[in-house]
Symmetry: C2
Subunit: 322 residues, 2 copies
């Protein structure tokens, strides 16, 4: 499939596996690359810049195709050595970076000098316009449906994608709420040049998370996600479990971040994925969890989405305008 995104980034299919903390490891990213889509390693899943460099090299051993590193700048309780991680990415020879969270402006000069392309993920049209102005090469526009951080505007993709398309000149990736070929066709109809998926890639054979969490995803419907940290203006969409419900309760009681933080510790999200205990901590899940009902290989998934989008366009939409 050919879009402005596939052309500009040299990727076979207009599908990105977006950055997912703890999940974005070499085995998944290489599988996505080999399937002709774009996978994103998550930089801060690795404990040090040196470990990140090793993980990047591990991907390179598993695929010759392009892949990206996700670099998410968010409020954290302890400081993160951002520049050191960025230096490792640049040094690694990776050709694409997915930035998210804060505007990546301060990092762009070094990135551009190294000839690396940047996809910036954000949740509002005003931030997208500002990132385009700063010089990024594509925007991943992330709707209210998404896992992780939807921002505070609560604007779903049906509005956000065409609004972004009206305001931007660079390629647009639609993110949040996508899990199948119907969604890919819809995203492109709305003005996007591809889709970004997270939760859908978690339920694949190659995703490095415990089988029982993959099965939890299959069994869930679209009502089983919850927004935490709303009162802190750092909203996160998480799977509805004992811990996310506890956090929401603590927020309603007016508890402080110092009290809530340890309960919602991201480190325990890692334990969820490693041990398969869904209540070990909070863990991200998008609303498209209601559209997921199998655990295919990454290659099967990507082929199916591409074929389904093609069918939808040629058959279903074709019949409407025949």
């Amino acid at each position: 499939m050919k879009t402005r995104f596939t052309e500009a980034f040299g990727i076979e299919h207009p599908i990105i596996q977006g950055g997912m903390q703890w999940v974005g490891r070499a085995e998944l990213i290489a599988a996505v690359a080999n399937a002709g889509a774009l996978g994103c390693l998550t930089a801060f899943t690795q404990p040090t810049p040196e470990d990140l460099l090793k993980e990047i090299n591990k991907v390179k051993d598993m695929t010759d195709k392009p892949f990206a590193v996700n670099f998410t700048i968010l409020p954290t309780l302890k400081p993160v050595p951002y520049q050191e991680y960025m230096d490792a990415i640049i040094q690694s020879g990776v050709k694409i970076i997915e930035t998210a969270g804060n505007n990546p402006k301060v990092f762009l000069p070094k990135i551009k000098e190294a000839g690396i392309k940047v996809i910036h993920k954000c949740t509002s049209v005003r931030h997208a316009v500002s990132a385009q102005k700063a010089g990024v090469d594509a925007i991943s526009i992330d709707g209210f449906e998404c896992a992780g951080h939807p921002g505070e505007d609560d604007t779903p993709g049906l509005i956000l994608i065409p609004r972004a398309a009206d305001q931007l000149d660079i390629p647009i990736i639609a993110s949040g709420g996508f899990a199948d070929g119907r969604g890919l066709a819809a995203a492109v109809a709305l003005g996007a040049d591809g889709i970004n998926m997270g939760t859908r890639f978690m339920a694949t054979k190659e995703a490095p998370i415990h089988q029982s969490i993959k099965e939890k995803i299959l069994g869930a419907n679209e009502l089983q996600t919850s927004l935490i940290f709303r009162t802190l203006r750092n909203t996160s969409r998480m799977f509805t479990n004992e811990v996310s419900l506890k956090v929401i309760e603590m927020e309603a009681e007016g508890k402080s971040i110092e009290e809530i933080g340890p309960v919602a510790s991201g480190q325990r999200g890692r334990l969820v994925y490693e041990n398969g205990d869904e209540n070990a901590g909070v863990w991200s899940a998008g609303m498209c969890i209601g559209l997921i009902d199998d655990i295919p290989s990454v290659d099967e998934l990507v082929s199916r989405i591409v074929n389904e989008a093609e069918d939808v366009i040629k058959e279903r939409l074709g019949a409407m305008v025949a």
Copy 2:
């Protein structure tokens, strides 16, 4: 354009102008019918069943094409003579009814006996399945983006439409967040057989609302709607004005419905539309308000949407699969 909806309901284009309290009057409904789409008179905009019958006859004088009557069953402070209004609709000879709010089950035997088709609008897949089981002929599935009552699930159309398509056999109308041909193509890609629009039809020449309110819609972006009555579990998406902000403040202060009700009185919504004072009361607006930037005639609007959807399908999506 041909879909299961246009075929089953005998409408030229897969576009519905959904029920809008105070706005769904004869002049708009007739203009929509004459443009080849399906307009819905709102039953309870008329003070009595006799007035409704007169309004229906007024539409019949203005068009020979099919139109519908919207019949919305909601919690109200004072009782509404629902059966009397329904008897008037049935007696009028109207061939299509749009129901919304509660399940229309109790009214269906008489409706069916009269050979009238029913489109039931709801905001969740479980209610859609239940309405299909009760015997309605189509489902209008209304996402979080919509004006008026989005329900309490906060599920946007990108999720709700494909989920509904997977669960239903009858035609599906995608509602909430639609304002242009990109949206129509996207809705059908996701599994719908047409779109429902409200806010977009408010900004047309024929909409019977004050010009200054139409201009307010043009000037607004997607961030200028607010959810009121959330704490009452009767959530409504309204234009963000002094009154909706006041209501939200009163809810946060834990004020009772007896105190909030008079401030948010729906009667003053009527004054907004009649007098053009945007702060006369609360008034419904969907998030697609950010996608609206002109005031065409209804006929221009419908033609433009149909043509844009056709272009998107043939050119934009066609190029992707070429």
